[in-house]
Subunit: 403 residues, 2 copies
Amino acid sequence: MNSQNASQSLQSTLSEANRSHVLHYLYAHGISSRASIAQTLGLSAAAITKITARLIDAGIIHEVGGIEGRKNRRSIGLELNPQQFHIIGVKFARSLVEIGMFDLKGSMLALTDLPTVKNDTIPDTIRTIHATINTLLADDPSIVAIGMAVPGPYLRHEGRTAVVSSMQGWRTFNFLDEFSNAFRVPVFVEQDARAGVLAQHLFDPASSSCRNLAYYLLGEGIGLGVIDDGRLINGAQGAATEIGHVSIDVNGLPCDCGNRGCLERYCSAVAIHDKLIETGIIARADQMTHKQACHALFEQASQGDTAAQTLVREIGRYVGYGCVTIFNAFNPERIVLGDIVAEGGQPLLDAAREVVDERVIPELNQATDISLTKLSADAAVSGAAAVAVTQFLDHPSRFFAIT
Amino acid sequence: MNSQNASQSLQSTLSEANRSHVLHYLYAHGISSRASIAQTLGLSAAAITKITARLIDAGIIHEVGGIEGRKNRRSIGLELNPQQFHIIGVKFARSLVEIGMFDLKGSMLALTDLPTVKNDTIPDTIRTIHATINTLLADDPSIVAIGMAVPGPYLRHEGRTAVVSSMQGWRTFNFLDEFSNAFRVPVFVEQDARAGVLAQHLFDPASSSCRNLAYYLLGEGIGLGVIDDGRLINGAQGAATEIGHVSIDVNGLPCDCGNRGCLERYCSAVAIHDKLIETGIIARADQMTHKQACHALFEQASQGDTAAQTLVREIGRYVGYGCVTIFNAFNPERIVLGDIVAEGGQPLLDAAREVVDERVIPELNQATDISLTKLSADAAVSGAAAVAVTQFLDHPSRFFAIT
């Protein structure tokens, strides 16, 4: 590249970056005047006029009637059109696959739950995913991207998951080979808890301004996604923040990953399901899915069953040990608990907090908020959509024509 | 700020960023032509001429005779003057304080070891630090900054360490209040292992291009510094990557931080010293400093003493458990072991690797390098200098006049 090409390329990179900043601003702040956007982003009036004109032409933003401007003058507002483009999100857990359609703000427009997956039905599941997505794409031309959330540790350059404890069939499956060129729109794949933290950041207004955010995924596996100073922690291969495989007891239970005492062995939906079958606390638990068994436990506990309540407290303490590790390893400002096991609700959260209060350095504990996700349970799949929405906001010109 | 001021300010931010990029480039690549710098950084010939002229005026870089250019033409080379400016580094451990003077490339020009610190001699130590630094500053006008490396968890906004297990006297001491305005040059304070990873990145050529690097500090405390995709992981309060307080056994030994089974309780120099006193493997260990006791153990093991060798292997296994956590939590490309306990050398590293081979996901293990630091033992204090050198390269105009 000669220096003239380099500076043209730099110019186009800067234009795209400014477009992205404007979209992120409107996404987070709602209706805003050109003046307030320009002021916050340090852009000239000329630059903001040019950028917004192109975004209006593309239909991604529109003008709204006079809003209160500075010095009490009325000015024109700008607003994002979150319905202008649609996103498909696909969530892969171990035995669960869900496909949802969303607008850019994460509102769910449609949801398909696929039949429970077993090691030997993975090929059928893949065929169904292709068919379902193709039908959605044929019916709705406004779909611009597909996000996929997959269990970690996900090797992002290879396109596959390194270990899926209790369901190794997924291990040989390559998400990028299978899906990246399969559809008319681009596909983005991310580890599920990392997708979850993006969803919290984009779709929960309480977390949108949080620069140090952790999403603690308590599902069929245990995962963690961390935004540190505004950026996702990925690791060299995409396998960082795998809290489910951090040991809480180096002499503890063996795990499919090779380690011992992995947190996942004590408080994942799979581990809880095993415990329910072993103890008989829930009748006919062996005929339930992992998710159904956990729901049944939480339901029975809420109705006052002592054995169920004791087990929920015990699970909550293990969730708490994981929180303590999250504090000392990542020091986030906020930890959000989500997915199947988080539906244990307040009693589970209380037990986890008890452990945190006992074991975390007071200065860190005081400065950190721990809460249950406010996104609806079905919205676990919204994390998959958030992966694609993030790409859309970061690189808008890849998704619609900029004239 | 109106938009004209905003764009002036943006211009000056961009100029400083470009200056910083040029310095970083020359720092990492050695003698380079203007053309190669311009090409790599995407800068125009005019911009590079202007930037380098100012850096030459300031004496931080100089021209060297004709070097091999593109198309076999001779061109003028540019080179950083690492001796043009000096840096003071101060390392605080629990009982150890070291003060070193360095050039910008981390070469040590002077070193002072302060007398062993006890809880009740901290005020004396502080007075000695002031006096020593003031003498160095008076004697050498080329000193432009002071870096300090302190035990974590260091609350960076407050200026103090939250817990210093086995030496709580430091806890009430505020580094920023005490030092930030005490000298004619700026002072930068960083958690010690984070300072250590900066030193590896800046001063060890083998790690300078590594974008996912971990420095595993095995000293009086156990610490960790992680660069993820080129950026330090800090956490909201500066207390992230505190591997020493990540539990390896939730029912294990209690720690001053409130947690149980903290890694630090098993393989820090303090824990090893306790073990040596308890077992009597090293004679008169109770009259030694932590560092002396560890040295004596490693020496005795290298001379073939079986009890000493067994203990080194046991320590190595605990170091290995910490490595396994580092893999699963941070997935770095390289883990460098340093400080007192790393002087256990190859037998200790072998024992740690054995645990890693047993317990880490093969795809991660294969892609990750674990090694002992190549920086000299005394150079532990070079981490403190690296904190200030990093600031110098990132914000050059704060340290010398740009005309």
